[in-house]
Symmetry: C2
Subunit: 347 residues, 2 copies
């Protein structure tokens, strides 16, 4: 039996091995990913993001346990992504703790993303792992990211449902409006709701939703994609968008309070996505992003590998000595590349 | 007098206009940036980052005011970058409030980054604005970013000195170790130090520093750059690195408490950078990153603009229908591009 078949048959050992291969972008990993790809497209990918200290890991664990109690006993995968720690893999410690917490349930599989520098970035990498879980028959894939920067937005943009977790008492700064992160939320959660200020946070988030932050979300996403791939025909997303108003929930993940309601909203959102055709649009959007990011990575790698060391060093020295501006340096190097292509192909 | 001359003469109106042109990447903006570039390289760029709610804006304002009291009365620019709000420009409101706060001091100039989608990303854009301030004779450029994700790391990596701001009471989660962000810190600040838990946060950060998170920092940065530009000769950074141990300070920015010490540490770090030759290495690193990111942006834009709509749509449809894997799609599109170059140049 091939490795990809073993993964589809449910072998945890094969799954583990394939996840590592895919994460490290080995040739074997790429091949297995290709073999598994036809069997993807069924899993519900849920992105969970929010500021440090909001208790995301505890919430994700509680969510996984609650999903397991559903009638059809769905299988749940957790991918913990930690882009705040691009250098030393800070996710590892948290991962061990949560492993202990969820230990013994064969329907849950936890994976933390320790590697970096993947061709196309962390978001592409996360999506690749998702595809493995998807083909392996996992029904829900919970993708947890730390923080609220652009890389987190990129990651959760690849999910079907995005849960944004807030916590009372962080919202006293003007800067913490976090409009950008609100725009990507399908479900908003105020966790640690036994803390003072929980109701205030709840009201605040509700008022932000009412102020209409939501409609901007996917049109902005669409706009970004249209900018990146100017010659791609884009399906219309706008009409379905106004139909979903993100609910705002209170949870105390530590005590599993509010988690049943959260699962209810997740299932409601899944139904909404499928009934409006938005599930398919999201899939299409995600796959386009994947292809775009991989192409980006390849182009840059090729470019620099083919540039002579001497030319690059000389040009950069001129920049550092303020003899050549960065813009002119870019022009010099791009021109060399164009001429090289010309020479190369006319030989 | 040309616009770039007016900027160098100290005209705030010219400066304002040039900043907008540069931010919007207009042809005029690119030209002025080229004209100003020979006059850059003097300003001390300070990146300030930390989680939402840590009071960064207040700290940055207090820092600017304190720097102004130094003997040589340095001029201070503030660039507020808000990558958590890539869609709706959430920095604007905060910007107005701080404008009021620092109003009337002609030696301070505040600019918030509202635009996005810049060729090469937010970090390149920030650096371009810095160059304008630098050539205009600003001695300190404070670059404030919200959050702690990869894009913030990218931005502060372009600064000479990075201040990481923490706040008591956020550190109760395992996930909030924030190892990655600690690694980029030259100076650590526990702001809102009148809150309970401040001493605990201070001790925690100090112990993290002692545990040796620091030495990883720039070797990781160097490693990333070496990966991105494999054929570039890299100067040795490691030996100087171990000489600087990031101090950990307590501040109450609202009351300007601890800010004088903070300025002291900033000046100490400046002296350290210049005496060890690390200032020049940082400059070289930054300029290389700028060039690399711009080339990346150009390559991708060119690629997609030259791809026929029909081919892109057909390939993506095959992916969406699971007939072609993303990796194969990337291969198809890259191959088309290679053949196109061949045909194009042999004509």
């Amino acid at each position: 039996m091939s490795l990809s078949e073993s993964v589809r048959e449910g072998s945890r050992i094969a799954l583990s091995r394939v996840l590592s291969q895919v994460e490290n972008s080995t040739p074997a990993g790429k091949q297995v990913l290709d073999e598994l790809f036809p069997y993807t497209g069924k899993a519900h990918k849920i992105g969970i993001t929010g500021p440090p200290g909001s208790g995301k890991s505890t919430l994700v664990n509680a969510l996984a346990r609650q999903l397991r109690t559903l009638e059809n006993q769905p299988r749940v995968a957790i991918i913990a992504v930690d882009p705040t720690s691009p250098f030393s893999g800070g996710a590892i410690l948290g991962d061990r703790v949560r492993m202990l917490d969820l230990q013994g349930d064969p329907g849950i599989f936890i994976r933390s993303m320790a590697s970096r520098g993947a061709l196309g970035g962390l978001a592409t990498q996360t999506e690749a792992l998702s595809q493995v879980f998807d083909a392996a028959g996992y029904d829900f894939i919970l993708i947890e990211t730390v923080g609220a920067g652009q890389s987190e937005v990129d990651i959760v943009n690849l999910a079907h449902t995005t849960i944004v977790v807030d916590v009372p008492g962080l919202g006293d700064d003007i800067q913490s409006i976090k409009a950008g992160i609100l725009e990507i939320a399908d479900i908003l959660v105020v966790n640690k709701a036994d803390r003072p200020g929980a109701d205030q946070s709840l009201r605040y988030l509700k008022s932000m939703i009412e102020m209409g932050y939501r409609p901007l979300a996917s049109s902005a996403g669409k706009h970004r994609l249209a900018e990146a791939m100017p010659n791609l025909n884009m399906p219309e997303l706008d009409e379905q968008l106004s139909l979903w108003i993100p609910p705002v929930l209170k949870t105390i993940a530590r005590d599993s309070e509010g988690i049943e309601s959260l699962v209810g909203e997740v299932l409601k959102h899944q139904k909404f996505l499928k009934e409006t055709g938005r599930w398919q649009l999201k899939e299409a959007w995600t796959l386009r992003e994947i292809v775009r990011k991989r192409i980006e990575g390849s182009l840059v790698l090729d470019f620099f590998q083919q540039l002579p060391v001497a030319l690059l060093d000389k040009t950069m020295d001129d920049v550092i000595n303020r003899k050549v501006s960065p813009a002119s340096a870019v022009e010099i190097l791009l021109t060399y590349n164009r001429n090289r292509n010309q020479t190369h192909y006319s030989e």
